[in-house]
């Protein structure tokens, strides 16, 4: 009898440990079942059988399907975080590696305290594309018109246009923080955009990964069913990377058309106060 009790306790303990290890990262570290008030996620509809996808339609309000934090990648691109693991080492060229090492991010293997960073974003310089999705994808609204697809992003309240009535220019006289984007339907449920003409002052992600002015970004939106859209981002920058690499694969869930996207702005005056009262003392910098 004692042996059976011990075996039961042992089994329960092991199951508890496994369950806890599965639950801990979801509860503690900003991923998983974290809810934006009023939003709905896949964990609300376990076992659902979604309706079929509408044809040639990616419009709507979209939220990361796995939870409010599932689109926030503080440690670098979701598919290739800056964590020192060999499988996440990017295929840098010599020029690309030098650019990376010149950056001082606040996250990743080369992180420094906030007060010592040269990240353009905290000072409210534009984070640009694709950083807006590789670092901090939050609730976004996609609008479709006959001429373009417009995406309104919550993070720092930004927007961009993907033109559908023209070709990508061969040359760009005016590099842009957000690049120049054109898109087309490759089938009834897949919209693909190509972007180029970037200003190389932006970073690719929150871990200081760089890009050059030669970067091209492939952005795919696959409408899996009525409620889901999967965004995939591939970076192709022959100056800084020896081959294209996939940075993000993010399933998103459709929200109600009336969903109110919150305000999230980069405010220079608020940032200055934060630096004065918090970031500088945190780094040991005297006032």
């Amino acid at each position: 009898m004692k042996k059976r009790v011990m075996a039961l306790m042992c089994a329960l303990s092991t199951a508890g440990a496994i369950a806890a290890l599965l639950v801990i990262p979801r509860v503690v570290f900003g991923q998983g079942e974290v809810r934006q008030p009023g939003a709905k996620y896949d964990f609300d509809f376990k076992g659902e059988k979604p309706a079929p996808a509408p044809r040639r339609d990616i419009s709507g309000v979209w939220e990361p399907a796995a939870g409010a934090g599932a689109g926030v990648n503080a440690n670098g691109a979701q598919q290739m975080p800056s964590d020192g693991k060999p499988e996440h080492e990017l295929p840098y060229t010599a020029e690309g590696r030098a650019a990376f090492l010149s950056h001082k991010p606040t996250f990743g293997v080369t992180m420094v305290p906030s007060a010592l960073t040269n990240d353009p974003m905290p000072g409210c310089d534009p984070q640009g594309f694709p950083r807006v999705v590789l670092h901090n994808f939050r609730t976004s609204r996609i609008l479709q018109t006959p001429e373009n697809v417009v995406i309104l992003y919550e993070f720092n309240k930004k927007w961009r246009t993907i033109w559908t009535d023209r070709q990508l220019p061969k040359e760009f006289d005016e590099p842009r923080w957000w690049g120049y984007s054109v898109g087309r339907w490759t089938d009834d449920y897949t919209f693909v955009a190509e972007s180029a003409g970037f200003d190389d002052r932006t970073w690719l992600d929150n871990a200081g990964r760089p890009h050059s002015d030669a970067m091209r970004v492939r952005e795919e939106y696959k409408r899996a069913d009525r409620d889901h859209l999967v965004m995939t981002i591939v970076v192709d920058d022959p100056k800084y990377y020896s081959k294209p690499w996939t940075a993000l694969i993010l399933p998103m869930r459709l929200q109600a058309p009336s969903f109110d996207i919150r305000e999230m702005e980069c405010s220079p005056s608020e940032t200055a106060l934060y630096n004065k009262l918090f970031a500088n003392p945190a780094a040991g910098i005297e006032p």
Binding site: M9, S13, A17, T117, R138, Q255, R262, Y274, F278
Partner: protein, 143 residues
């Protein structure tokens, strides 16, 4: 024998879970390099709220902690940005000046009275957590 084995199992579980937690970066904060990441170095501070600043890039709380010498030390502790904190049930009105609070803090390495918030317990016993989820509510109707 049973007690001893049970203790071993509990210790083993705690060790594994502890190692797992300690090895994970805190993903929600604005720059992790300045902080003491060892959970054993966390501080639990009792004090009085001076100001709650609901701003970007991050929210932060200023509160006064009385030392053994009777002198007050002003602590400044950050949480995440306003939308992330809303997701955890915090609001711009979560604190008012004069609130008595007990704050669990991850301090900075520089030794300054600065850190990041793990959780805040109020005088009435309710707790706001600055990490993980919270504020879960029933799913709204489908569009």
């Amino acid at each position: 024998m049973e007690v001893s084995m049970w203790k071993t199992l509990v210790t083993l579980f705690a060790l594994v879970a502890g190692l797992f937690v300690a090895s994970r970066p805190a993903a929600a904060h604005h720059g992790a390099a300045a902080f003491e990441n060892d959970p054993a170095k966390r501080l639990v501070l009792k004090g009085t709220v001076a100001e709650w600043i609901w701003a970007n890039p991050h929210t932060f709380l200023q509160f006064e902690v009385k030392g053994e010498d009777g002198k007050a030390v002003r602590w400044v502790v950050e949480a995440s940005n306003p939308p992330d904190m809303q997701n955890r049930g915090w609001t711009k009105q979560s604190f008012k000046a004069g609130d008595e609070v007990t704050v669990t803090v991850r301090p900075v390495k520089s030794g300054r009275p600065v850190g990041s918030i793990i959780q805040v317990q109020f005088a009435d016993g309710h707790v706001l957590s600055a990490v993980g989820g919270g504020g879960n509510e029933p799913a709204p109707a489908r569009p």
